[in-house]
Structure formats: C-alpha cells, structure tokens
Symmetry: C2
Subunit: 225 residues, 2 copies
C-alpha cells in the first residue's frame, strides 16, 4: 500500500489476534484485553479459538481467523513462522484497508540455540506486506516475552516495543495501542525495510535468557519519558 | 579458531583501536583510556593516528595499524565498512592468537535513512573471523553513539553493550573490558551467527535518533544489576 495511503483507524479499535492460540498470541490478547481493549482471538479451528478466549477472559471472543479478520479494526498476526505465508495470503480480502501488525519472528532452532532464517522478502513483515497489497503492515511486539505476557501476577510488562512501518498514521496508531498496556512504551523503530533485524533480535534475547536465566526485553535509552 | 581455543588474555590488557581515527574509533579509545586502560590508535597513516592519540589524551599512543595490532592484547576493528575486509585481511599475522573485537556495522544510507547491507559471510564479525583463522573474533560496541562517546562533559555512557562470540573466555574478557567504562555494562548477546542483526540494529537506532532527536542506545531488561 502506498505510503500516503489513508488508513482509517477508530479511536478505540477492536483488535484481532490471528493465529492467536499460541503463547505469544494468547499473551498479547491477554494484555490488550486487560487494558480494556476489545479483543478477538482467531484460529483455524474455531473451538480452539473459543477455548483460548475463555481462558483469556476480560470479554475476549474467539472465532475462526476469517471472522476475526473481518470483525477487527487492527489485526495482529501471531501465527508460527511456518504457517505465516499461508495464513496471511488467505486473509488478504478481510484485512484490506486495515492495519495489520506482524509480530512473527522467522527463527530456526538447533542445539546451539536460536538463529534467524532467511526470508525471500527480507522479513516476515515485508512478506506480509507483499501478500496484503491493500493493507498497511506494521511490525511490532517481536521482542516481548510470552512468559511475562502470560504471567497474571505481573501487573506491568516493563519493555519498549519497537514499531516499524512506512505509513505514519499506522505506526502512530500502533504506538498508541502499545502504550495502553501497563509498562509498555511504543517506540517508532524505523521503516519496514529495517524489520528483519528486529525480528532476528529475538534470537539474541533467547541467548541472553539462556545465559542469565531471565526473560529479557529491550529498552531504548535517551528517550524522553 | 576452534571454540575450545585457549586465548591468553592478560588481566590488564592493552587495547588497540585499528582504523581508529573515525568518530567511533576515537570515541571508544577515549572512553577506554579515560577508564585507565592502555590504548593505542592505529591508522594507515601514522601521522593521523598520532594526531588522534594527542587529541584523545590519557596516555593514548598512535602508530600505523600493523604496529598497534602487534602491540595490543585486544584489538578493536573500527574502520568504516568499505575498508573492513582489506584492513582485517592485512592484519591476520599480527592479530594471531589475540581477541579481536569487531564493532563495524555494514550499513547503506539513502534519503530514507540507513539500512543493512548484505554481507556474504553473514555479518562483519563473521567476515573478520573468516579472515582471521588464528584469532578469536568477538562482536561488541555496535550500538554505542559516537556522539555520546566523544562528549567529554558526559561522565557516564549509560548503555548495555551486547558482546557476541563463540569462545567463552573471549566474550567474558570483553564483557569485563566493557564494564570498566563508567555507565556501560557488557552483556553476553549470543554466538557470532547472531551478530548480523546486532550490527543492523544500528540502522534502527539511526531511525529512532532522527524521529526523536536523541542519541539512542539499548538496555536489556530483567538482568540482575
């Protein structure tokens, strides 16, 4: 979608988490729903989506992916990398003229840990943009620990969320959305062409987690509060 | 060099900053010298190295690159990316059996800002390791603002420095070195195969600097102090 495209984003958007029954999707759904945002979880399998929504609570609903894609104002693609291309391609129509947040990290794993996988389009976010010519894709939530997101004893998830994209209205809206979650700050992190390294950075955070036995996140220094 | 290679690193290593007359090199030389570490600046042109050393002060010396490479215990490669391959290849002999820190970011620039350049070996650090089979290459100092490093009014440069490498004794030594600089914390950031995204992350920090008019760095959350 062209850089000057006019996306319409309501002040209080409904957020759909597509492929949202994994830990990252459920964690994001939980934090957004806890913050009072209307949230829907989508899955290929409606009954799994309904179970995840019940588990999440806070008014969260669960349906099949296409229904949630149509229902929401802003979508979050939270499917595992292996299913990314097929899921995104199948939802081009219901996601048209919407902001689509991609949080997927193309990573491989072996006994030495995690490492980035090559992506022909450059990054998961750029692959999504190529498959969704009538949507505005924004990268965000790549580096947030699912363990922390899902820990209901934790009232704040202290982290910066880098928000990447080429359309200012869309990145601004996603920064606002992020900042509704207690502890999180949405920080503009550059254009989509600079997404690959933010996706891949998750491999480093996994290395850090192993070494220090923590759930690492990142903060940007020198930003005004 | 094999992962189990025994590198000998003195408790109080002399640090050589190779290709060190640019802002990043001079900034790192200044901060290390201010911390009481013996520092030498290397350049192709000995008189430029001597000028940079005089400007730095704190006992810093300046010589040609090969002399500094031979003199130091730990080297920092701080040359611009365009000169990286040639400089590193030319110093394989004097750098043998030493720890070589690579802080070079392979970035391109156009009117939209900075973006990562493809590197056949994967990253600058992996290119250096391929060219220095008898040295141990460690990635570090990629994301530290030269402006802050060179600001003598700033007593502390508050940032985490991700340290990447495959040889534990070497990454440990570099973490200790980093942590001698007031404000800096050396954090293990993963293996060399996960260096590319840390080098490329500098493009995002440049985008952040443009947007927010700051000198951004990063901190890792959830680490014990």
């Amino acid at each position: 979608m062209a850089e000057d495209s006019a996306v319409t984003i309501p002040d209080e958007p409904k957020v759909g988490v597509l492929g949202g029954t994994g830990d990252q999707g459920k964690g994001l759904a939980l934090r957004l729903a806890m913050a009072g945002i209307p949230v829907g979880i989508g899955s290929r399998d409606q009954s799994r989506a309904e179970d995840a929504a019940t588990e999440t609570g806070y008014g969260c609903i669960g349906r099949d992916n296409a229904t949630i894609a149509r229902w929401c104002d802003i979508a979050i693609v939270a499917v595992p990398w292996a299913g990314h291309e097929a899921l995104v391609a199948s939802l081009a129509d219901p996601l048209a003229e919407k902001v689509v947040i991609d949080c997927v990290n193309p990573l491989g794993f072996d006994k030495r840990g995690a490492f980035p996988l090559p992506v022909p389009e450059g990054s998961a976010a750029e692959q999504a943009q190529a498959l969704l010519p009538d949507s505005v894709v924004v990268g965000a939530f790549h580096n947030v620990s699912a363990v922390l997101l899902l820990d209901r004893d934790l009232t704040e998830v202290e982290t910066d969320v880098l928000v990447l994209g080429d359309v200012r209205a869309a990145t601004d809206a996603v920064q606002r959305l992020v900042s509704l979650v207690p502890g999180m700050r949405g920080v503009f992190g550059g254009r989509l062409r600079n997404s690959a390294q933010i996706e891949a950075l998750t491999a480093n955070l996994i290395s850090i987690n192993r070494r220090y036995k923590i759930h690492a996140g990142i903060k940007i220094t020198d930003l005004p509060e």
